[in-house]
Symmetry: C2
């Protein structure tokens, strides 16, 4: 009896979380920026197997969705740093909880 | 003084979480399966804008990574259902916490 299968609707909250944080590297990028302000090259070296264009795209999306801010220092060469916004900071407890779960269940 | 920038290594836990749960739809799929056992068509209708091949791939990866089990009932037509494994169940509190965060900060 599957008559009611369609009555369970899509969850707006979970769907939005999936949309804004489901990128291939977003959780990991946010985690590193949560530990301290990061430069582009630092993130790239840290993640290692990420293409520069992919990292650029993921950072732009995180910025557009309000999780990180980008600070440009007018130096030569220009220095660009990424830090968490208030929204990004609000997600840190979730990241921490997820990491604790991973330490127990994944490693 | 960025001399120590490279000394922060990649976090194995967060990197593994990103790898197993960073798929475009994995959080959302796990969430729906956490509410009850689901059939393929149900998940597809629920998520809506997911291609059948993509859903198949995401479900196979979640199965290979130990989060869900696939039960095939020998009926005509064959019925396939997905449910959480113990590992999948262990992730439910993280999903719940993430959803609570989303309700406060995203909607």
């Amino acid at each position: 009896m599957q008559n009611h299968a369609n009555t369970v609707e899509r969850c707006a909250t979970v769907s939005t979380i999936q949309k804004v944080l489901g990128g291939k590297w977003k959780i990991e990028i946010l985690y590193y920026i949560s530990l301290k302000t990061r430069r582009f090259g630092e993130l790239q070296r840290q993640i290692g197997d990420i293409a520069q264009s992919t990292l650029t795209k993921q950072l732009r999306e995180l910025e557009a969705d309000g999780f990180i801010s980008r600070h440009i220092y007018q130096e030569i060469p220009p220095k660009v740093e990424y830090s968490l916004t208030d929204l990004g900071q609000s997600f840190v407890p979730v990241l921490e909880f997820m990491k604790q779960w991973g330490e127990v269940h994944l490693l």
